[in-house]
């Protein structure tokens, strides 16, 4: 039985197409994916991302513990700084990709993928032996909204009354929300999963519902479903756990080494990544652009021009912002060079394509 977020009734009332995702019943689209996608690229959209998981790590060893389980380096981080990175298995496979917010000295807020919540929390608990920390699993408390798009800043400031102009990219702050949610402290960060400027806002269910209603009633912010969240993140080359990262796909294979700080003294999976960087990996994630409009989908076979199977599509779409059929695919290393001619089997036919950069559309972050 899928869980419902605190906004479930509102999605149904808006006539959203609801579908299971990551253990939740989530809105895929309200009107259609293309309109919602374009709203985020051109104006502003709001997503219910309350399905995401939250874990708070505090205690005398909190920083040392985060450094141990997380690939990025949070040492000497300024307060409010946010890091993207992964938790890895010792063999370099990915447990999950996540955001780590530094909320205070030895106080970290971790945001994990909905589908991985149980697995991640179990994994984190297993690793805590020898660390004096408190691990507080807060997923049931927090609702989360993502307000995304070039107009997100003005919408958040004017419609929600939350000051956010001064927030730098990948930083967060807490805000006391006095008015209707007395005494509540929310977290707001300049982050997102769309390649546009935007904010993610974490608060109680009550706060989240009220904020959602204000945004929808304002008419300045389109409700957007997970359908366009996927097309948006895909075309700017952001990975989705389960597609581009998995227990079998390391960040080195996925081209995400920049988020793995191998100069850190240690973290789980470091030796495996060092080995992969030194000796190379058998498979790499690439972008492929097809000459035709047929759409490569997750799991379709990637072939050499001669028809030999050399990999698999991880995500593919007819890219909305550039009007091309493109995909990310995991292929044998020797076929990963830009410009390599490959082909993708789509149902009964084979379509020629070329290896291109994984980013099909440029990000428009406000840094």
């Amino acid at each position: 039985m899928e869980k419902k977020t605190c906004l479930y009734d509102r999605h149904v009332a808006l006539g959203a197409l609801m579908s299971p995702f990551g253990g939740f019943i989530m809105p895929i689209q309200y009107t259609n994916i293309t309109d919602e996608h374009n709203a985020v690229r051109q104006h502003c959209g709001v997503f219910d991302v309350s399905h995401m998981g939250e874990v708070r790590i505090t205690g005398p060893d909190a920083e040392r513990y985060v450094q141990h389980i997380f690939t990025n380096d949070v040492a000497n981080a300024p307060l409010g700084q946010i890091y993207y990175g992964m938790m890895l298995y010792p063999n370099g496979g990915t447990v999950d990709d996540l955001l780590v917010y530094k909320m205070g000295e030895n106080d970290f807020f971790l945001v994990i993928n909905a589908a991985n919540i149980d697995k991640d929390v179990a994994w984190m608990l297993e690793q805590k032996e020898g660390f004096d920390i408190v691990l507080d699993h807060q997923s049931d408390y927090y609702g989360q909204l993502a307000v995304q798009g070039p107009e997100a800043e003005t919408v958040v400031e004017e419609v929600l009354g939350l000051p956010c102009k001064e927030l730098a990219f990948y930083t967060a702050k807490t805000l006391e929300v006095a008015e209707d949610n007395e005494g509540e402290t929310i977290i707001i960060s300049r982050t997102g999963y769309t390649g546009e400027d935007g904010f993610e806002i974490y608060g109680s269910h009550d706060f989240t519902q009220k904020a959602w209603d204000k945004l929808i009633e304002s008419g300045r912010c389109k409700p957007c479903g997970l359908g366009c969240r996927d097309t948006l993140r895909f075309e700017v080359g952001l990975p989705l756990y389960g597609d581009e990262l998995s227990a079998d796909i390391s960040p080195v294979m996925a081209g995400l080494s920049m988020f793995c700080k191998l100069d850190k003294p240690e973290f789980i999976g470091k030796e495996a990544l060092v080995e992969q960087k030194t000796n190379g990996v058998a498979q790499k994630l690439v972008g492929i652009e097809l000459a035709d409009k047929a759409i490569p989908r997750h799991g379709y076979a990637v072939l050499t021009p001669e028809g030999e199977p050399i990999g698999e599509v991880t995500t593919g779409y007819h890219c909305l912002s550039v009007d091309k059929s493109v995909c990310m695919a995991l292929v044998k290393n020797e076929y990963a060079k830009l410009g390599t001619s490959l082909a993708v089997q789509i149902r009964k036919k084979v379509f020629p394509g070329t290896v291109v950069k994984k980013k099909f559309y440029d990000k428009h972050y406000k840094k």
């Binding site: 259609n32 994916i33 759409i295 007819h318 909305l320 149902r347």
Partner: protein, 126 residues
């Protein structure tokens, strides 16, 4: 709300056949195009291909997913709707006005197992 056009034969998988003499024009219903959302690609067979009732003969791709096209009747493809190659969204604009393939029917008796518009309406309501 979806439109339903009388005089056509419908399959449970939401394809229709418009019969003109020995030929059948096969497309997807308006109900189907609504359910699919924005169509971005139509994968069609080639002229002279054989299609078999109950078997896949192509696909309609929306942004989100690919949906197989299942042949409601058997026959030989005599024409494909080439306009859909450049403008797949025509299926969204007018599903009944834009057939996908034209086949020479090999077994017109197969039409008897398809639904008329009233039966198809009920099928969609369930």
């Amino acid at each position: 709300m979806a439109n339903f056009e009388a005089g056509l034969y419908y399959s449970e998988s939401h394809e229709y056949v418009r019969v003109e003499g020995e030929f059948g024009y096969i497309g997807i219903s308006d109900y189907a195009q609504h359910a699919l959302g924005n169509v971005v690609y139509v994968d069609m067979p080639e002229v002279d291909d054989e299609v078999t009732a109950g078997e896949e003969f192509g696909a309609v791709e929306s942004v989100k997913a690919a949906s197989d096209l299942i042949a409601p009747v058997s026959g030989t493809v005599v024409e494909i709707n080439e306009a859909l190659e450049d403008e797949p969204e025509l299926l969204n604009k007018d599903a009944f006005g834009n057939w996908i393939i034209k086949v020479q029917l090999s077994d017109p008796a197969e039409l008897d197992s398809l639904m008329d518009v009233e039966a198809y309406k009920k099928h969609c309501e369930n």
